[in-house]
Amino acid sequence: MVQALKYLSETASQTAGPYVHIGLSPGAAGFDIYRQELGHDICGPNAKGERIRVTGVIIDGTGAPIKDAMLEVWQANADGVYAHPGGGGPVEDGFRGWGRVITDFETGEWTFESVKPGNTAGSAGTPQAPHLNLWIVARGINVGLNTRMYFADEAEANTIDPVLNLIEWESRRATLIADRDVLGDLPTYRFDIRLQGDNETVFFDV
């Protein structure tokens, strides 16, 4: 016999199911209950940096957009600081860096507005290129999926990003890089997420 290690075991994940909106976005489910729903305002009115829009669809293995998913984003501010005690410093008043959006019931499109983040600290001294951390749940997704979105106009930073370089297959790195569209009232990045098939998005075990 040896001594026991007194660790607990993480609670298992279960799918968010088709009605995730009731708990996390009740207005979308069709009713008004809270003084304010959380996650609608990612960066607040005082955020520095370039205002951007990010949009896309989440595509299943048949090629169809998923219409009952929820996506959360976690990002640094324009200085590369996260709004967290260990985030690297102060952030602008009202900057949270976190948001949640649902996919449209008819089209599957999701969209949010924010600011473009800066470089963030890397573990081994190499900075991480600007990126958005994304977490996706839906009916049929048993454990929430972690991925990242990088910016196509940050090619130089992307080339040395330590996480992109962890991906063995160079062709797969492109699944994490969103193209910038100069049309419209805001710079818009398109990030389609493919759960399976050609160009399956890279998902991380973080």
């Binding site: 209950i33 293995g61 049929g140 399976q196 075990d205 973080v206």
Partner: protein
């Protein structure tokens, strides 16, 4: 002075298998390629912080948060309470816990739910709270009903409450479902059975807690939630310390 450190790698053996053909929706919605393992960075070690201004005191009381004044929802009145801890058995204070559920008849208040059981006019079906300094949380609600769903033609979901938890870093983000002790539908449920580990399933089953019951009012169930543990860095010159 401690600062947050790396998370212990997630033990995927206690989580559901992504591609679980018994749960048909997972077939087209599970990645086919392996996840790329990532040593956590500042992006995963940090996560959103919530405060008392974000929510209201009554948001955790589903018996009243949607009911007309003086009325309450139909169903068995229950308390769902527990602690949010990490794998190091440390409390996770001040973290956001959000829940949602069907009403006592097994019907969700959702524009896409068409089950023939009726909507309860006094029941919304969602609640949220922050854990206290000891990681403790509680909700008042009604016992949700079982309901049928289109997977195999005669599948029924056991009574369950969906639970969403943040923790202190985005890598701890978790959504799960809480089941209830003694429900014969638990072992028959294809969603429960996506989890290959029996101990992990039992950890999702809330236990009757008579000591926390309010006599002549509500019966209590205890549901503790465990989030991933992390190394703590005690000194800057001991980056591997714990």
């Amino acid at each position: 002075m401690t600062k947050p450190g790396e998370f212990y790698p997630r033990n995927r053996d206690i989580h559901p298998v992504s591609l679980s053909p018994g749960y048909k929706s997972s077939v087209t919605r599970s990645p086919r390629l392996a996840l790329v393992s990532l040593q956590s960075t500042i992006s995963e070690q940090t996560g959103p912080v919530f405060g008392a201004d974000d929510i209201d005191a009554g948001d955790n009381d589903l018996l009243t948060n949607y009911a007309a004044p003086g009325q309450s929802p139909i169903g068995e009145r229950i308390i769902l309470h527990g602690h949010v801890l990490d794998e190091n058995v440390r409390p996770v204070p001040n973290t956001l816990v959000e829940i949602w559920q069907a009403n006592a008849g097994g019907r969700y208040r959702h524009k896409k739910d068409t089950y023939l059981a009726p909507i309860d006019p006094n029941f919304g079906g969602c609640g949220r709270t922050l854990t206290d300094e000891n990681g403790y949380f509680f909700f008042r609600t009604v016992m949700p009903g079982a309901y049928p769903w289109r997977n195999h033609a005669n599948n029924w979901r056991p009574a369950h409450i969906h639970v969403s938890i943040f923790g202190s870093g985005f890598a701890q983000r978790l959504i799960t479902q809480c089941y209830f002790e003694g429900d014969p539908l638990i072992p028959l449920c294809p969603i429960v059975q996506t989890i290959p580990d029996q101990n992990a399933i039992e950890q999702l089953v809330a236990r009757l807690d008579l000591n926390a019951t309010i006599p002549l009012d509500s019966v209590a169930y205890k549901f503790d939630i465990i989030l991933r543990g992390r190394r703590s860095t005690l000194f800057e010159n001991r980056p591997e310390g714990n």
